[in-house]
């Protein structure tokens, strides 16, 4: 058992290491100058500029590099924290449905539509600090929950695969959201397709005006504790886990599985529904997405990395947003495209979820543990009869 847990940790660590190494190799290859110079010189230059790029990539979110030395990068730090907020929330939502082994991948749509509908409240409801903010967030959650109930209902009643329905509904949510903004909430004075501005008093309080550090991170962490409590400490969370572990066993024990399958998807939909609007309330002050920002998909990556444990979700989200901010800063100072992060993400997920990766090594450590405990075992009499 110990070997099992330890191994999971190693595997995540090694996956991240390998991904970073692959990233480095790509950066290195991209840095080889095309000028007509000696090979060794080319290598040397590529090596120098790859190191330089990786320095920005790995430290850029926290350190501002000047000629005089290094300084704390306040803007990078705030960007890092702010970007983690929506993906912590979607990560929590996805970890809930994944715990029940329901492969509902509708978080993206729930998040988008929730934000679009709640935008109406944020624009038109009188700005009363806290009250109107809460109302906006609750609206988004209700929309997310309502939208999530569609695949939930279809799964529970019709046994329609929630994976397919939730995936398709993401498109429905996206176009419905855009339609709402375009037809009812559009700021016609603005040059692009954006909504009217939110009520000033409805916006989230800021910790730092200049870089717009908002209190979203505390909301996300509060939700983490709440989801953790619900999943690990309540009878409801226990039922969800049992259903995910063995649904036949849950039914045999007297649990109404189709009701639970429905409930967990709706509850997760409520959580996911709030992810987008919190960012709008904290940072942008209006709805401005012309394409889906992808937080729902990030939620899947994060839940996978966090092994569906709510307490690990913020760690995974902070890791993801750290390398993303680092990549953007690298992109600003070098000519390496920040999209390299997508490659790293893919490699990490691939390795973390590939059961066979390092399995030999795992078996060896299990063998060792098993043979060690073996010596404590009372030996059986061995010998030839007659």
């Amino acid at each position: 058992m110990k070997a099992d847990k330890r191994f999971t940790l190693y595997r995540i660590g090694i996956s991240v290491g390998i991904a970073l190494l692959i990233g480095y190799i790509i950066v290195f290859i991209a840095s080889v100058p095309s000028t007509d110079i000696a090979f060794m010189k080319k290598m040397k230059e590529a090596f120098d500029s790859a190191n330089e790029a990786y320095k920005y990539f790995l430290t850029g979110a926290l350190v501002r590099w000047r000629f005089t030395g290094a300084a704390f990068n306040q803007s990078g730090f705030i960007q890092w924290i702010n970007e983690a907020v929506p993906i912590i929330i979607t990560g929590l939502a996805v970890s809930m449905v994944f715990t029940a082994k329901q492969f509902n991948i509708g978080a993206e749509g729930q998040m988008f539509l929730g934000a679009a509908v709640a935008t109406a409240v944020a624009i038109y409801f009188p700005g009363i600090p806290f009250i109107s903010t809460l109302l906006v967030i609750l609206t988004a959650m209700a929309v997310g929950a309502g939208f999530a109930s569609i695949p939930g209902f279809m799964k529970a009643k019709l046994k329609a695969s929630e994976m397919v329905t939730s995936l398709m509904l993401n498109y429905v949510a996206f176009f419905m959201g855009l339609f709402i903004i375009k037809t009812f909430l559009r700021d016609t004075e603005a040059g692009s397709l954006v909504s009217l501005e939110f009520q000033q008093q409805t916006m989230l309080p800021l910790l730092n005006e200049r870089y717009r550090w908002h209190i979203g991170i505390f909301i996300a962490l509060g939700m983490t504790v709440l989801v953790w409590f619900i999943m690990k400490k309540t009878t409801w969370g226990y039922k969800v886990k049992l259903i995910g572990d063995n649904i036949k066993f849950a039914e045999y024990s007297g649990i109404n599985s189709s009701k639970m399958v429905f409930q967990v998807q709706v509850a997760a939909g409520a959580v996911a529904g709030s992810a987008g609007i919190i960012e709008l309330l904290g940072y942008h002050g209006r709805f401005l997405w012309l394409y889906s920002p992808g937080y729902g998909w990030d939620g899947i990556i994060i839940a996978t990395l966090a092994r569906n444990n709510p307490l690990f979700v913020p760690l995974a989200a902070l890791f993801l947003s750290y390398i993303r901010v680092g990549a953007k800063i690298m992109g600003r100072y070098t000519n390496i495209a920040p999209e390299i992060v997508a490659i790293l993400q893919a490699v990490i997920i691939l390795l973390v979820t590939a059961e066979a990766f390092l399995a030999k090594w795992k078996q060896r450590s299990i063998n060792k543990e098993a043979t060690q405990s073996e010596t404590n075992d009372t030996p059986v009499q061995v010998g030839e009869v007659r």
Binding site: F249, S253, I255, E369, A370
Partner: protein, 516 residues
């Protein structure tokens, strides 16, 4: 002697991915042309050792020498090439194909692009004559008996050129009559020069058929001997490691009020077979009612209907005076006072990735003291789990251990711990001791008897006739969805008598059966 040796497995270790050490430095030597019994309790590692020999599992350490050569058996395909065949505990036949089609599967005689079906039938006929194993080659596998299916499996290995045949607990699924047939067939095969490894945990079978035995215990080989030199008592000591007294003492039943009444129950499977044809009986306080029958004669459906897993087609069920609604669920049955030990513990009886304590509270987590206002009190839960570990002798270091880390016998004890502490008046025990070690099985049987002494009712469905005869107070026999026999005095019958009714050779009239 040495030149006569066909197979030698040397210092075999097998550690499974979950950390279970199934084989610890095992050695096995088999002579050509003999029937070699591999004897050991459930969980001793017999199947594992044979799966290694057949290439299904790879050994962690150790070597195999077959016909004088060191071999590396990386897959069943390789094993077949070497001439090793295996008949598994669970048959691997295609039910919708005929016997002959199953036998030639993967090695079909071709006529152009299509299978030459006539030649296939001829071929199967030839082979079955050659080895003295007659089979109904044109019948569909789903329509033939268990004993016949096993014979088909044996021919399958023979036509693929097997010289060494492994049979994993072949008699576990057979009636006494079918066992006799199987033994004759096996003796016949050794006369034709085949070598047989025969896995079992039944001592009388070893005496009857084997030439030599290798006894295993908890992953180790305890010893090898000629069967004629060793008594059953000695064998059992080697197998269990201590003297065993498996007789359970019990007083005659004091049956009271009716706890469960089943009336005219009918059920039709999705494949159209009517598996229950109007079954009626009742279970009373303070008795264990045994249900005997060859697997697939309606027992599964009967249990699943009573426990609310599948809906019945027709008939009435009364549990503790509560009429079961037509559309029901296991939760309703539990509330009506029913406990259920399911036949397949991994499929339905436990959640493998959850802890022991989590598994034990699955039916009562809403009740005091395990939760309050919807919040689980984990301290109470784990406290109770530790208590259960002690009371039910579950071998582990903590109630936080995940089920998948336990052995079969200990997993079954977790199931039993939950079901026996649910304070239900009725327990449906479906194959409660299948595939677990002698000590755990004995423990569970004694608990069943204790239930009855506490004036509760037990319905015991079992393929183990010895168990039924020992534990049950009354026995009914199911054959093709009907009750064909009812024994009120279990002491006066034996396995052979039961077997005749199970096979449909005999059948009681309703007067003979009396009040069910």
């Amino acid at each position: 002697m040495a030149d006569n040796c066909i197979l030698e497995m040397k210092n075999i270790w097998k550690i499974y991915p979950n950390g279970v050490v199934a084989n610890k430095d095992m050695n096995l030597k088999v002579n050509k042309g003999e029937i070699h019994a591999l004897l050991g309790e459930n969980g001793a590692g017999k199947s594992t050792l044979m799966k290694i020999l057949f290439g299904i599992e790879q050994p962690t350490k150790g070597e195999i020498i077959y016909e004088g050569r060191q071999v590396d058996i990386s897959s069943p395909h390789k094993a077949i090439e070497y001439g090793i065949g295996m008949v598994h505990q669970h048959f691997m036949l295609v039910p919708s194909l005929t016997v002959a089609e199953n036998i030639i599967l993967g090695m079909e005689p071709k006529k152009g692009l299509s299978i030459d079906i006539d030649q296939a039938y001829r071929f199967v006929q030839e082979q079955s004559d050659l080895f003295g194993l007659p089979v109904p080659s044109k019948e569909k596998v789903k329509d033939i008996s268990v004993g016949m299916k096993q014979r088909v499996e044996i021919i399958k290995t023979l036509v693929r050129g097997a010289n060494l045949i492994i049979l994993d607990e072949p008699t576990a699924v057979l009636t006494p009559q079918e066992t006799v047939d199987l033994f004759n067939a096996l003796k016949n095969l050794t006369e034709k020069g085949k070598t047989i490894i025969f896995i079992t945990h039944k001592l009388n079978e070893v005496k009857e058929i084997a030439d030599r035995i290798t006894v295993t215990r908890r992953g180790r080989v305890v010893g090898t001997a000629d069967v004629k030199d060793i008594s059953e008592i000695e064998m059992s000591k080697m197998m269990v490691g201590r003297d065993v007294d498996i007789r359970i003492e019990k007083e005659p039943a004091q049956s009271g009020e009716k706890l469960m009444e089943i009336n005219d129950l009918e059920f039709t499977r999705t494949d159209g077979v009517k598996s229950l044809k109007g079954i009626s009986f009742s279970l009373r306080e303070g008795e264990i009612l045994g249900v005997a029958g060859v697997e697939g004669n309606g027992q599964t459906e009967l249990v699943q209907i009573i426990t609310g897993i599948i809906p019945r087609e027709k008939g009435r069920i009364k549990l503790n005076q509560v009429e079961l609604p037509k559309i029901t669920d296991p939760g309703f049955c539990r509330d009506a006072g029913l406990s259920h030990i399911p036949s397949d513990r991994m499929e339905r009886g436990v959640a493998a990735d959850s802890t022991i304590a989590e598994n034990i509270i699955s039916d009562r987590f809403k009740k005091v003291p395990f939760s309050k206002n919807g919040v689980i009190k984990w301290k109470e839960v784990y406290g109770f789990g530790e208590e259960m570990i002690k009371e039910f002798d579950i071998r582990t270091d903590s109630a936080r251990t995940e089920i998948k880390m336990l052995s079969g016998g200990n997993i079954q004890k977790v199931v039993v711990a939950r079901e026996f502490t649910a304070h239900s008046k009725i327990t449906i025990a479906d194959q409660p001791t299948r595939g677990i070690d002698v000590a755990a099985a004995d423990f569970i049987r004694r608990r069943l008897v204790k239930e009855r002494e506490n004036n509760l009712g037990v319905l015991l469905v079992s393929a183990d006739l010895t168990e039924l005869l020992e534990v049950a107070d009354r026995i009914i026999v199911l054959f093709k969805g009907e009750i064909v026999a009812h024994f009120k005095e279990v002491k006066q019958i034996n396995e052979t008598v039961l077997g005749e009714y199970m096979l449909g050779i005999k059948r009681m009239s309703s007067e003979e059966m009396g009040d069910l």
